[in-house]
């Protein structure tokens, strides 16, 4: 993956009067990276996208977008290199899919507009609906048109603001496949969402925003950073001397009971601890039902962060 930043943000803040939309944002995103921007409603996700998309001016801080310094005089040049798909695609409902795309191909002044439109329609599987008025399309299909529109200019950075908001599971899956395909083809994607499974599935790295940036990293890094790794052991009956069984095993840092015949072991490395635990249980003549590494989801990370914020606010 190219490590030249497609987006570099340094201490960026935006206020609307007394209200802070976001503050002190600093992060970098490499070319070809799929970056998830998570946060609850009102966290400042959309405002961040609008700021980086040159629609609104930051109050302070600096950023470079697609290699260009974020400044009013560079707005046109930045917008040439990026594409933004807002939460609602904002299509002209009286115009056909093709007419919508023709309009935006001209706004981006793309060369070979017909070829690009055809390619974009193929990418989102909408060739057969090209002449349908957008007003007759389902919400999922409109999102696809929005994506096709965003692809017209071959953007260096693609901002997707809640691309699956309000979609049914099938339409959501379709959009996920499209985004994954784009990510694989090397497009830098800045994805805002509060669907955590979406971020976990699609993103190389995620950031959690709640006005300020709470954390940033790969989903597995965040899990490791926040949560102790654990093994969940279940046996047919309680162990006679669990301390003896689990004490001193490699990569096992401690244990606690979890129900009548369940044990949760704090571990440092599952690949070392799990075989050692299995051998120790067999040696202790225990009837083992299961040994499994407890998986913390991105949702756990997210909830931990947001709960911390709520506690701080209460305090």
């Amino acid at each position: 993956m190219d490590r030249t930043p497609a987006l570099a943000v340094q201490d960026l803040s935006k206020r609307f009067g007394d209200r802070v939309a976001f503050q002190g944002l600093s992060f970098e995103i490499g070319y070809g990276e799929v970056f998830g921007f998570l946060g609850p409603n009102g966290a400042g996700k959309t405002t961040t996208v609008r700021t980086l998309g040159t629609l609104i001016a930051p109050t302070s801080g600096s950023a470079t977008v697609a290699g260009i310094r974020l400044a009013p005089e560079n707005g046109v040049e930045i917008r040439r290199r990026i594409a933004v798909m807002p939460e609602t695609p904002g299509l002209y409902l009286r115009l056909s899919v093709l007419e919508n795309l023709e309009c935006f191909a001209d706004l981006y002044e793309v060369p070979d507009a017909d070829e690009r439109i055809d390619r974009a329609l193929r990418a989102v599987n909408l060739v057969d609906r090209a002449h349908d008025p957008c007003g007759t399309l389902s919400k999922g299909l409109r999102q696809r048109v929005g994506l096709a529109r965003a692809l017209l200019s071959d953007p260096q950075v693609l901002f997707l603001d809640e691309p699956t908001a309000g979609l049914d599971p099938v339409a959501t899956r379709d959009v996920h496949e499209l985004i994954a395909g784009l990510g694989n083809s090397g497009v830098t994607i800045f994805l805002t969402t509060h669907r955590l499974e979406e971020a976990e599935r699609l993103c190389d790295r995620v950031a959690i925003l709640n006005t300020t940036l709470r954390t940033i990293g790969r989903p597995d890094e965040l899990r490791d950073r926040l949560f102790t790794r654990t093994l969940a052991v279940r046996t047919a009956g309680p162990l006679a001397d669990p301390d003896h069984v689990f004490g001193g095993l490699p990569a096992v840092d401690g244990w606690r009971e979890d129900g009548a015949a369940g044990y949760v072991l704090a571990i440092s490395d599952a690949s070392v601890a799990a075989p050692a635990v299995a051998r120790a249980l067999v040696a202790a003549d225990a009837d083992v039902l299961s040994i499994a590494e407890a998986r913390h989801s991105l949702e756990d990370v997210y909830m931990e962060m947001i709960d911390e914020d709520a506690e701080v606010q209460r305090a």
């Binding site: 998309g53 629609l55 904002g90 007419e99 309009c103 706004l107």
Partner: protein, 241 residues
Amino acid sequence: MTLSKRRIRAIFRKELREYRRNASLVAGMAIIPLVFLIQPLVSVFAVSSGAAAELRHRHELLYLLAIPALVPAAMAAYAVVGERQQGTLEPVLSTPIRREELVLSKAMAVFAPSVAIAYAVFGVFIACVELFAHRGVASALIAGPDVLAQVIFTPLIAGWSIWLAIAISTRASDIRVAQQLSLLASLPTVALTTLISLNVIHPSIRLAILLGVVLLIGNRLGWRVVSAAFDRERLVTGSRS
């Protein structure tokens, strides 16, 4: 600053397509010209041959200049706030289009059909008078200077109304409010043309030149002022930048 003809053409073409398929807007555009066509026709048809000479002292034709004042005002009021309410403005503002290009293309898309409508209604009025009015009425009514004034002032007045309405549209948060305010803002122009048509203000070449220059300057400044007032941040977030 170089303006992109392709981007201007893109919005111009898109706007015309949208207008054509917006039945309520087309109906709104049709009502005003009909009112301003039928009312003077009825009064002209009521003039007998004997009373036709009196028409030489009136300038009934100039009454039709209310059409290029009002029709574009109703249409242009929709231009920005309409897109904002539909949610289509943000995607457009996210493209490389400059505000000057966007404002100009939207103005041109209103200008072309409204001037065409105004000229068409004027043509229909002249034809109806020639064909159906009492003898002598047409020759008394259709004076060369009035026709020339109609031809010259139609685009100038339309342009002025468009800039006023787009300026209102960029500031309004509701389409109906924008249309009402735009029509209100066009009323001084309608009042002026009506007073001239009724000979309350005596039309003269000097007055025509003065009004023409004022409207030309107004139109030139209108584009600049409306473009400068076109604030992306306020339009997207509702807050000033």
